[in-house]
Subunit: 354 residues, 2 copies
């Protein structure tokens, strides 16, 4: 059995009995019933994931999957492709948005080369990044499949391997992405999986004007027509209109779920990865925490399809894992509600007159 | 000149030149323009408040103002009044919701007795709380003014004194409240200041049913009819339909603003304090950060009146300063964006093709 099949088979949903134990404790805390709202909902989820009333969340990492996209030949991004390896360098040097926000919450930033269109093997050799390169950029999906089915499996398994290798030392994962042009495959994925019209889920990415936006919509429509991905087959969709870093993110989510670890899913690209993961293994959903609602308009459609309500809504549209890093604070806070607040009995406080 | 007048006169708005310096730097960061959205807006505000591109936010405190309300005689809360001093004890022992969330973000919790209807002076003598008691509970506002104008000034000045005494050691303040029945005066305040119908801003507090909610609306309407507070005079409103802890919160906000310190305003009760503070000194608004949108329906009306968009929306309705503590993480993150992210030039990353 392949690593992918083995992982899919090993994913079990949240544990209902631990969810109930958490609810029972939260019902008794010294506050009006469920007065900390979504923090308490999240605390129940964390208990169900970890099978514990002290869900571990202290050791944190954001995994930034980087890859390039052949479809940039169609002119779908304002930034040149050379920015992908430049930003990998920026991550390694600690100067990017994700480094700033990860530092605030005490999370490591781990960068994985899933398919950057430049030779950055020196950074891998010196241990600064993890080398899981499937190929140097996908093919142009407007002309044919972005990658072969074998490459799609390789991308997923790379993500699973990263999760498995870190599961012993990390309690709380965050997904991140870097790849010039990667809102384009992400939009194709959400359109393919949910059946929503491309125009209704295509956003301005890093800042397209109206004409550029219409062009991007046309490119995505063409990619879907040329490739005809099967809406029920996440592997087919990933191969035909996905990206290596999106496959890596999907694999990371599957690996986290298989290890019963919560994983904060970042923005539009990361959530495209979550759609692929949940298509292949629906129980992944139980370990996904939607961190924020991005400015990208298709993000709402993704969350609605997954049945997720994101924790934050702060007009972010950077990716890199920034929304996930920020929301790690909320996850920690939810955990504190479960572990640190006294019950009425413990604190000798009078309860409500019902 | 009284401390109150002196403080009002000393509050100056944000510094436009420092706001511009922050914008200039943020425009050059290695990311698509303004891709961290509201974190960047907030970073500009912090620079304008502190007159610095390294706004200090490390030393944090949540100030929990506690007071009781004569109007509980009308049966407006499900919890008995004895819960106020019991919860003060819970705060001091570290077992309440605010303790858990303050611990997560590394903030101190400082409890102030503004008017608790019980003798808790032993806790003040042993240094566990600050004693600023104006009186043991307000009078019943459904029958006459909640307090005298002199008591209202005393409550405001107590809050200012707390801010002034801590300004040398605290960078970032959060407001908090404890007081059984205090959604009732808070609702009267928002109705009086904004002219909104009482029924449109009255919520279920700690969990009233429909009949109890209608009764609460009637009590608040009666209090406004009996007292006829002047909508343009924050001091008159505070005296007639306010509370000692609400006055303390308003004073704390004014004191923070006078010291150019950012202050995270928590939920419904704290925002009632912000309405009073901004009525007396409109420039306070420049130092207020609205932390979250509460379940209490009148909270939206308050934010709209103040022109604030809250950072978080997580179905919280506890008060105590919990939403403010949680949002301190977002403030820290905003500061990190300004201080920790490299510019395109610093990181040698290619900019967008405009």
């Amino acid at each position: 059995m392949s690593l992918l099949e083995e992982t899919i088979n090993s994913i079990k949903g949240q544990d209902e009995s631990w969810r109930q134990k958490a609810k029972d404790r939260l019902d008794q805390l010294t506050m009006p019933h469920w007065a900390l709202g979504r923090l308490m909902d999240l605390a129940v989820d964390l208990a169900g994931m970890s099978r514990s009333l002290q869900p571990p969340v202290e050791r944190k990492a954001v995994i930034v999957m980087a890859g390039d996209h052949g479809v940039v030949a169609e002119g779908v991004s304002k930034f040149p492709q050379e920015v992908t390896p430049q930003m990998v360098g920026n991550f390694v040097n600690g100067g990017a948005g994700i480094n700033a926000l990860a530092r605030q919450v005490g999370a490591k930033v781990i960068v994985v080369d899933m398919g950057v269109a430049a030779d950055i093997s020196a950074m891998a050799k010196s241990g600064k990044i993890i080398d899981k390169k499937v190929a140097a950029a996908t093919a142009n999906m407007a002309e044919g499949p972005a990658m072969s089915r074998e490459q799609a499996v390789a991308a997923l398994e790379a993500g699973i391997e990263v999760a498995n290798s870190m599961a012993g030392e990390i309690d709380l994962f965050g997904t991140g992405d870097m790849g010039i042009g990667n809102t384009t495959p992400s939009t194709a994925i959400v359109s393919a999986i949910t059946g929503t019209k491309v125009a209704d889920v295509t956003g301005r990415g890093t800042g397209l004007d109206d004409e550029q936006l219409n062009h991007k919509i046309g490119v995505i429509e063409k990619a879907l027509q040329v490739n005809k991905p099967d809406p029920k087959d996440g592997l087919d969709i990933l191969a035909k209109v996905g990206g290596f870093e999106i496959g890596g993110i999907a694999g990371l989510i599957m690996g986290a779920a298989a290890n019963r670890k919560p994983i904060l899913v970042d923005g539009f690209i990361s959530t495209a990865g979550a759609l692929i993961a949940c298509s292949l293994a629906p129980s992944c959903r139980d370990y996904i925490i939607a961190s924020h609602r991005s400015v990208e308009q298709g993000h709402r459609v993704m969350h609605s399809h997954l049945g997720c309500e994101p924790l934050l809504d702060l007009n972010l549209r950077l990716g890199e894992g920034t929304g996930g890093a920020l929301a790690m604070n909320v996850v920690e806070a939810a955990c504190r509600v479960l572990t640190d607040v006294a019950t009425f009995e413990e604190a000798m406080v009078s309860a409500a007159d019902n």
